[in-house]
Amino acid sequence: MKKAFWLAGATILALAQPALAGDTIKIGFISTFSGPTAVIGNDMRNSFELALDHLGRKMGGKPVEVIYEDDGQKPDVGKQKTEKLIQSDKVDFVVGYIWSNVLLASLKTAVDSKTFLITSNAGPSQLAGELCSPYVFSTSWQNDQTPQAVGTYMNQKGVKSVFLIGPNYAAGKDMLAGVKSTFKGQVVGEEYTVWPSQLDFSAELTKAKNSKAESIFVFYPGAAGVQFLNQYAQAGLKGQIPLYTAFTIDELSLPLQKENAIGVPGAQQWVNDLPFPENKKFVEDYRKKYTGLRPTFYGAQSYDAANLVNSAVVAVKGDTSKKDEMKAEMEKANFKSVRGPFKYGNNHIPIQNFYLQDVVKDADGQLSLKTVATIVKDDQDRFHDKCPMKK
């Protein structure tokens, strides 16, 4: 009886095995789908799904199967889920990754198994430098690039001194280092906060105020950005010490930040109003498919990731065993990116423009982000020399 039970179980499991490799293109997608930052993961999934809709849910003539996994914003969980996707689901690509620390923990699993990993957000400096890999591509940026653009903009504005505040994890360190590398004024202070648990920034704001810095720079993605802006405004610093940001104000945080976000500049490689036909289609269809929601840069990068994967699969006509050919195709960035055309550097990180974004009221009377100016053109990250891959 017991034996029969086990046999039945084993049979069901065998039957439940997905179709044999080769019939479908399998993509694993890792992001955060639970906890306070789940809204970011949802936006990435929404955009990825929209891209698949636009592609007819097929790549190179084969149906696409996507397996979504939740990393819970934890590096150890992200690593486990990456292992599961690669070793038991045998996916052809792993896509996603919001958090640099999660990506760094998961990287080795993908690279060792020669599975293509497309990061559609995280861009730790190590990945652009010594840890670069032929199997890893980015549809976002290297962490330092966006704050570097902010630093450049602050120079243009003639800012003389700055106080830096950011979270104490891989991306936070990259971001503050990025501003420091381009900002020509004085850095009077630098504070790191416990990530992601610390949500009260009173001690840091008090220090920034008393440092007599002319400006403050912060990097707080997700809900922490809302909390920081709330507390900055409540401390009466708005109008007193101007704030500059990277990845702190986006379409997800803006409805909560409201007036607090007006007049706070940031830099970004993608803004919803960039004048490319692909971008218009992406933004319009997104708002149609997911009523009440607006896509963010996280989504735009995930939309691009689907198209990058598609370009590779189409080039090999669906035969995903031809890894070298897929790699060669992806290096050309041969797809219509919603941020406009870009090239890949030797380390597979985009060489791209960064724009100044500002918060305005749009035609519907809603707060939205707007491109104001181009801060840097064709910017390449500052770690590509450390990458052993050469062009």
Binding site: K207, A223, Q234, Q257
Partner: protein, 305 residues
Amino acid sequence: MLVLVEQSLNGLQFGLLLFLLAAGLTLVFGIMDFVNLAHGSLYMMGAYFAATFVAWTNSFVLGVLLALGATLLLGIALEFIALRHLYGRDHLDQVLATFGLILFFNDAVRLIWGPAGLSLPLPPWLTVPVQIVPGVFYPAYRLSIIVVALAVAALLYIVVMRTKIGMLIRAGASNREMIGALGINIKLLFTLVFGLGAALAGLAGLMQAPILTVQIGMGENILILAFVIIVIGGIGSIRGAFMAAIFVGMIDTLGRAFLPDLLRTVLSSAAASTAAPALSSMLIYLLMAIVLVVRPEGLFPAAKR
């Protein structure tokens, strides 16, 4: 010097907020011998209620009062429906059941309010900084948290130390069986205490909401601190919770404020910036460990059983 004043105020504000959360927890734990992990969910519900009612009524004060009442009722309902069946059980059963409640509340909130979170905007009169001493400006809202929390602490003190109900609560904390044997309606007392604890948690949540955001799971991190506080202060002791909360608030804030600069005098700047946040978040747990070694019953334990 002025920086120290301002940072101490930050610490005091954080500590008092923690006190509101810890007071309810210590009452329930001390008097009813009940481990309530779902206390953080009540904190979250207070914030969600406040955000909703403030939006409905367009009045901050009215919305907040309604939210307080709603959390009180929710606490009483929760005790009546679910928790009173768990009093006789093992602590492990209680932990399991109330952990289930955390999941229940998180998903209920996701269903009702959606995953994106809410914001609780402040009225203009609370968003301006106030000059407290010449040269020190402090956010009016944080100042109002200090005032409200001190008032609540005073009120709690009067209720617990000077009224008949307070006497019963204290008696309950010292020896539950005995006051039951003396013919006191212990069930009603428990429901009341639990409702009071829920309202205090809700108050903490809704006061924290304009500073932070109203989001799913907001009560979970802060609940750990509340448990640390009741361990340091002595389980069941309101006075202990008050003192320990202020200790913890001060240590946390002053650690964050001054530790990086202290470390920079011995370490390289980069190493200090990385080590300081990690170290300052450890300070509280170090304090707890020391207290557990030196005075395992807490700094201000409730009267002995």
